[in-house]
Symmetry: C2
Subunit: 333 residues, 2 copies
């Protein structure tokens, strides 16, 4: 195994596929489905009509967000596992909490699935959720399960924004600031392209596939950025140019990204050559990395690198030029 | 029109059906879909990665819950309207917040729908959500929209539990207490049966159909019960015996319900005669009324009536007898 400079340990194996055997949800019934989830992701807050969390920190504000994942649209059983779907669903939501500079404290899960679904899918999904919420010292505190024609899961996250500093809003980027990022950019899209190609993925490129299956995000970076003086923040969920473009338009500023800082790395270049794709496409229009993207005066917060600057004007440039790729995730298209 | 003693004004018309004309979600695109929701249910908290609510009241605790509604499973376009689906989705969640003795303060909406869905369905859904959250002085503060094969909506609610009194938990019923209820019991199930029968529903029975489409719940009764000394509470979501049975088993008590207090009213009796159904079935095993069911020592709180008593023992009785109907909502069956 070739060691990569990745935060997450790489694995020589890319796991894909959903369990197809064993008792189904219809066979075991709702009570056992709930028990399987609670066993995998226990919380003392769970089990009543609603979850009552610990008393709020004085002067703190509650932060809330929600995201829905639909099988066939956001994930398919041949490219990932229920465990990774669970992890990714949490990351998606918690990244939105962190992008306000807040701390994720709890998640709730609602899902619908056909009665024919094996219970093991739910077990693994819940185990994935648990593995990710616990990285944030958070808990799955409640939920709702129901039958439905397809597998749909919706996670909502609650966070806490402490202290008197304002939240990191999309509209608070200011000319003169630097643009900073924590996390990979364009890794998830490269990994998805590799997995969708149906090719045997070289072990060296496994980190890309893993980044698609579960994005790497280090907990707590949003709070660090806020404490260090960042003012605006979002996460790379729909595509870098799309998401940073939202910051630019909401803040009425021009954001000029640094081409050298964004240049595809060795793995992305190799994947691009393998698939005959320009890896810049993944960097500029690939989403789902859930990388934190912020703006700050002065130096970059610990764990962040500089990827551009904020100026007077409007729109997004890369190295002073119009970006080569501007697409992004679009629902209903 | 015969005046009924209903809290909600009755209407001589039962509206059903979803809009089938006009531009679709796929035609207008995600941006316009979100705009339609935000126009119908505006909130200054909405529009960023996550919603940052107002500072928490000192010593308050955050309460969170979630519920998912699947078209074909929880509602069908021929028996209700998008407006009422939106209202019902909010009631479901807010009743769970109230059943802890807390105050609902915000909701988030995630939904998936096929691109062919008319935008007017979403507009009406959002208008229904807005009409109900505003009854609670609450707001729709965020959401996520995505395409998917079916119409699925998931609402999560955030509440605030102020003061030092404990929450109203399922496990806190005690022998010697009375069982109290606020709201109709078995109205929603009777209304569903009427609507499903395909008959022309006599105007006199419209309140039953309306109760199915949007349950009547008066905001704030959970908080009043907690302040008045209630200890346990739930809401009638899956069926009276089922839900009160959960209180009994979690609290290790016997709950004896008062047959006279629960007896089907004039409308339920008439609907039962019309359909050839024993209306007690609706009372004992029909859910979705979201009636608050609590236990308290001393007198019933304002707005509540006594429907039974808590004793030492186990299980649920009606007038000292085993209940004639014990079924309830069960997913995956």
């Amino acid at each position: 195994m070739i060691k990569q400079s990745n935060e997450r340990p790489t694995s020589p194996v890319i796991h894909t596929g959903f369990p197809a055997e064993g008792p189904t949800l219809g066979e075991v019934g709702e009570h056992e489905v709930i028990r399987a989830i609670v066993d995998a992701a226990p919380s003392t807050f769970n089990g009543d009509d609603a979850a009552v969390l610990t008393p709020a920190v004085p002067n703190s504000r509650v932060v809330v967000t929600t995201d829905m994942l639909v099988e066939g649209r956001h994930f398919t059983s041949d490219l990932t596992t229920p465990f990774d779907v669970g992890r990714k669903a949490v990351v998606q939501n918690f990244a939105d909490i962190e992008a306000m500079g807040a701390r994720p404290i709890a998640a709730v899960l609602a899902f619908s699935a056909p009665p024919e679904l094996p219970l093991d899918v739910v077990r693994q999904l819940a185990a994935g959720i648990q593995s990710k919420v616990s990285e944030y010292s958070s808990e799955l505190v409640g939920g709702d399960v129901t039958s439905g024609p397809g597998l749909v899961l919706s996670i909502s996250a609650v966070g806490s924004l402490g202290g008197s500093l304002p939240a990191l809003e999309l509209r608070r980027a200011k000319p003169g600031q630097r643009v900073v990022a924590h996390g990979r950019i364009g890794y998830s899209a490269a990994g998805l392209a590799l997995l969708q190609s149906g090719r045997d993925i070289p072990e060296k490129l496994h980190p890309l596939a893993h980044a698609y299956q579960t994005p790497d995000v280090t907990p707590g970076r949003g709070m660090i950025a806020r404490a260090a003086g960042a003012t605006a923040m979002t996460d790379n969920s729909d595509g870098l140019i799309h998401d940073i473009g939202t910051v630019a338009s909401r803040s009425n500023v021009l954001i000029d990204l640094d081409a050298a800082a964004l240049a595809p790395d060795e793995l992305q270049v190799a994947a691009g050559e393998l698939l005959g794709v320009d890896p810049w496409q993944w960097v500029l229009s690939g989403g789902e990395d859930h990388t934190l993207l912020g703006t700050i005066e002065g130096s970059a917060p610990v764990g962040f690198r500089t990827i551009g600057s904020v100026r007077k004007g409007a729109g997004v440039l890369v190295g002073g030029q119009a970006p080569a790729y501007t697409g992004g995730w679009e629902s209903f298209s």
